[in-house]
Amino acid sequence: MIDLPTLISDIAWPLVILLAWCIGEYAYGRLKLPRISTYALVGFLLAPTQLAILPPANTDAMLLLANIAFGLILFECGHRINLAWLRANPWIGITSITESCLTFVVVYALSMWWEQPQTTSLLLATLSMASSPAAIIRVINEHRSAGQVSERAIHLSTLNCVLAVFAFKVVVGLFVFQTSGELSQAIYRSGFVILASVLLGIMMSMAMPTLLRLLKRSCHDATLAFALAVILLVSLTHSLKLSPVLAALTFGLFSRHRRAVLNYSQRGFGTLGDLFSVLLFVFVAASLEWRNVQSGILLGFVVVISRQAVKIFSTTMLSHVSGISWKKGIFTGLAMAPLSVFVILVLEQTRHIGVDLVDQFAPLAAAAMAMELFGPILTWLSLRWSHEIPQRQEG
């Protein structure tokens, strides 16, 4: 006899992912809504803590899968970052540092004023610095957007993501030191994790071209080989409790500058990338709890608004001097709205290494949820308003 509850529980995840994909296609086709917003909405509504259609996930396995998905997207982000551009136009780097630091200061001040504990405020501020390059690049690829807003949103979000990881590791190090009193553990948690993750990424970027040369493949496209390498790298850093985010980004960045070739037809890792992105965005939204969202909604809302205002202010102020119009400056800031994927994965990761921050972060959960849904829509709107998305009715 088939055990119906077991069957339903077993197929719940694949079914929900299929459902999310279907609704995503429908919303994209009808309303042009970014697919990842729909995936997030489906994940959040059907989560174990909301409608409970999804069973509580085996978090470690799901977290690894989500990290692989995230790793693939981050590898692509790293691969698209042109360090030579930062040298040729230093205003890009200056914009990045300005908007990240200002976001940190403003959110920290707001949170302290809201009478949150200092550690909470520090972590809230560091995580607010980061935009989600994953969400931004998915929207850009999905809508075939091209232009300065797209290009700068990718570069600035990747840079602020790296800055946020650094800041976050430092704050977590402080947190560990305060709670455990062990300096060595604190240093390990921050400095070593950063260094080791970056080194692993660099090593992988050196190993892959050598391996491909040894194989003497007739096909020039190395996309599949790099996808497999990302999966290996993420699994390795995940298991060693390092930072898959930094490792994958570094791998992408160094591969690009070592002239590794990714085929143009495989942008975003093609179908594999699409598959993983459904899974990633459903999973991260499903790990948010309405209880948390509800209790932190007010501060979360204030954080979202002020963070967005600071980002728009910084990119606009520095737009003309960096070579674009004021208008495109505004849209670049707006396009950097997405926040969630990175933050949620980092929070999950932190819980995984024994520091449970999720429950303390109701405002962040609220901000993350809001931006999970609306962030990609704001990115899409800014790309549309800046005319970087092609018109549908074109000959």
Partner: protein, 371 residues
Amino acid sequence: MPIENFKTSHALTMGVELELQLVNLSDFDLTAACPDMLELLRRKPFPGNVTPEVTESMIEISTDVQTEYGPLLGQLLEIRDTLLLAGERLNIGICGGGTHPFQHWSDRRIFPKPRFLEVSELYGYLTKQFTIFGQHIHIGCESGDKALFLLHALSRFVPQFIALSASSPFVQGTDTLFNSARLNSVFAFPLSGRAPFLLQWDVFSTQYFDKMERTGIVKSMKDFYWDIRPKPEYGTIELRVCDTPLCVKRAAALACYLQALSGYLLECHDAPPAEDDYLVYNYNRFQACRFGLDGMIVHPKSYEQTLLRDDIQNTLDLIEPIAEKLGSLSALEEIRQIVLGGNDAGYLRNEYVDRGSVEEMVNAALLRFTQ
């Protein structure tokens, strides 16, 4: 609206237009960067002229009216440096080459200018396929009659210019085996090919153009996509068969080669042009597109078969005295180098073999443009 009068120009003045590729430096595909480039370039005076082209991954530059090789090359270098500087600020690569080796036409988007939108409406996908990059050379003529004479006298030399400038061996990611695959895209347009054999401007304007206009097919000379067409508002003829070379030095040399050749033809050393010259026109044109300098062409008068490489060498010898008078001997030297060392199509193919991918081929073109 009837065609305007042919404006008188100083004979043998010249101007160059280059259509250039705008490349994404991450994946080396074309990118719709023209609006951002124009926005940035508008902030300072441009050393020449810069305009959008039919799709947003293209940008067109043009020089002022020039008379000599040195100043022409000087202006082209200045334009190139200005473009490269703007490209650096915006993370956009700029290069020559008649086709982008792997772009997909369906990814292109039409630049939102009324004429481009109209053309796109009329020609459908052909317009996006028209994301190809050519060099147009204008030669000043004293009258409409002289312009038409020169236009038809030059027809026998069209294959030389195709072979010398050819830089479009790959299309949609595949080696076409052509040296200039770009011209196949031009041929798809119904009003492409050669101009009708008329030698008097009056006859051309009152009989041919007016009739064509009454048919409703054309509104202006811009609607003709001929290999060489008269441009009455500038007082020039415009040679349109060249692929954009990979570097501006070659573009300047091609212009001066045409200038000296035009000077030679206007001196009427050869038999005058005739309708029958066009019997071999399309065949010779194909040979040049397909085989480049190794193409075998048929002389329109003697029907003698000649290797294009040899034909160019002979022409170079004939026009050398005129080039000397015009101050463009260095340009002829550059043309000799192409004949000996091969055209840009051969260079790109070698890069593909050496570097192993179409993306790296674009990277090689980007580097070549800076040299």
